[in-house]
Amino acid sequence: MQPPRSTARPDRGALDRFVGRLAQACGVLAGLAIVAILVIVCVETVLRQFQSSLLVTDEIAGYLNATAIFLGLAWTLREGGFIRVELLYDRATGSLRQALRWLIVLTALAFTAILLWACTRHVVYAFNRDTRAVSIIDTPEWIPQSVMVLGLAVLLLQLVAWIVGRVRDIP
């Protein structure tokens, strides 16, 4: 929801380049998940006019939505897609700006790490106990939920890459 910004970015080192490619690849998968939602929901809507159904549309489309969200996180962060209150941040210069950047990236890192920890526990539990979704295909819950862990891990990597690069230039 922000005006597009110029995309010329300084080189931030090997780790950042690697994370960049990883985030991009996940972002593309997120895009494909959205295409899949579009197709599956349209097919379901048409089928329903003929009293027919795929029966799993709600469930699968929900998983795809989660896939799009989590796999897109790191890429969105890189591209400056998240909004913020710019009041002070945009006016700050010099060392105040740098201090704000450290504050932002470190707290975001702590938050992401805690989420990743909680979600990993959740998925490992689902795997060990073999919990299933209440649906006709009895999806093992750990399979769709793994995208949470994957997406948050890439997001964490991105934040780490910025810290390694001393948060010189974050979107």
Partner: protein
């Protein structure tokens, strides 16, 4: 830890995070995690995973990426530009015609795109250079675009209403229908305002003779494809043929068909639209996740109940509470975006709103108008930023001043909705089922 101290820590940490420029979604989540940890320890943090998963794995919220995709495709394929030209032919002959064309095309296009910012940007990019060249008064131009762009979240399909409906568990189809008449009313009031303004200050717009370059009358046909798409999407919801989620997917498919029809659907445009959709979807989804973490923390720690009881204990009357609420949202809207505003406040305020007996559909419409208002109030108003960015060197204050009258007009709409709630509530009652 006692609740007063916890509430204080919460408010202080939220203020610091937001002011420091933390991404809003992260700021909400960080404060949620902090409160959860302080009140329930590590055990409390294990609840996070369910909050995160349940807010992403949602069939209702699928409407968000689908409506976004619909808007992006219409926008990037240039279909919206054709549409604006068509509206200009229709309304260009009125005095100050292009100003009316701004409002009307913003109303329809923003409904299709569901995004205020995209609307203001699309119509603005075409309209601003053209209108300034013809001698329209700049502030009036900026105001009409910034305010017109906000109409989209009130006129369905509206992403804000999807999110509100999902949160308070009201029918999104009914919310959509409740937004139609207030949206048209507001567009009408904007146009009446422009007419009165031009009557008092005729020099704000060029005289009809100077309006220059006659657009081809055939351009008027370009109004129909976009309007048709809107009718299909809303019609299928209204008649009950499709749920809002299904209608959103049909809308996105319809947008692709329109773009193909205009011969401007390329792989490039599709992939750009798709990636822009991913970006906005992630932004919206993470705000929801962050805010839901915060709201879970508020519930677990008891802060939520304490604040609700405190408000109830103040002995306010129904409408005194309502006025306080409106003021709260106006102030919040000066700083925070609409989605964060809803998800931050409603978990605490909803029980009170219900206790006072407000209709939740009606309240959703009011809330949406208040969010529109927040988008054109400085210092942080998304639409003001957008128009400022594409204005070609105007001062920010010029844009803000031009938008100021519309703040008053929006409050007028809220007042009308208080006196005649049926403006919002009548259309949903005529729906099937």
């Amino acid at each position: 830890m006692n609740l007063e101290l916890l509430t204080l820590i919460l408010v202080a940490s939220l203020a610091i995070m937001l002011m420091a420029g933390q991404w809003t979604a992260f700021a909400l989540g960080i404060c949620g995690v902090l409160v959860l940890y302080l009140s329930k320890g590590v055990l409390g943090l294990t609840a996070l995973s369910s909050v995160v998963w349940n807010n992403a794995n949602s069939y209702i919220l699928i409407a968000v990426p689908m409506f976004l995709l619909m808007g992006e495709i219409i926008l990037r394929s240039g279909v919206s530009g054709y549409f604006y030209r068509g509206v200009v032919v229709l309304l260009g002959r009125l005095p100050g015609g292009l100003l009316h064309a701004n409002i009307a095309s913003c109303a329809v296009f923003s409904a299709v795109s569901g995004s205020s910012v995209a609307t203001a940007a699309t119509v603005g990019t075409v309209a601003i250079p053209e209108m300034l060249k013809r001698g329209y008064e700049p502030r009036t131009v900026f105001g009409s675009l910034a305010a017109g762009g906000t109409l989209g979240i009130l006129i369905p399909p509206s992403i804000i209403m999807v999110l509100y409906g999902a949160l308070v568990e009201e029918s999104i189809a009914r919310l959509f229908m409740a937004g139609v008449l207030p949206g048209l009313l507001m567009a009408g009031i904007f146009m009446i305002f422009i007419a009165i303004l031009l009557f008092l200050k005729p020099h704000y717009a060029p005289s009809r003779d100077a309006a220059g370059g006659k657009p081809a009358a055939g351009d008027v046909l370009h109004v129909f494809p976009v309007l048709g798409l809107l009718v299909v999407v809303l019609g299928s919801i209204y008649s009950g043929i499709a749920t809002p989620t299904e209608a959103s997917a049909l809308g996105a498919a319809g947008a692709i068909v329109l773009a193909i029809g205009y011969g401007s659907f390329t792989r490039r445009i599709f992939s750009d639209s798709l990636m822009a959709t991913v970006k906005t979807t992630c932004m919206v989804a993470l705000i929801i996740i962050g805010a839901q973490i915060l709201s879970t923390a508020l519930t677990y720690s008891g802060v939520s109940r304490t604040v609700s009881e405190w408000i109830m204990g103040m002995g306010l009357g129904k409408w005194e509470f309502f006025i306080a609420l409106v003021i709260l949202y106006i102030v919040l809207g000066c700083f925070v975006d609409g989605i964060s505003m809803i998800y931050m406040t409603l978990p605490v305020l909803l029980p009170v709103v219900k206790a006072f007996g407000f209709d939740l559909i009606w309240f959703g419409v009011i809330l949406t108008v208040l969010i529109e208002l927040g988008q054109i109030t400085p210092p942080v108003g998304l639409n003001l930023f957008t128009i400022h960015a594409i204005s070609g060197g105007a001062k920010f204050t010029e844009v803000a001043m031009g938008s100021l009258p519309y703040v008053g007009l929006m409050l007028l709409v809220i007042l009308l909705l208080c006196f005649w709630p049926d403006i919002a509530l009548w259309l949903p009652t005529t729906m099937r089922g």
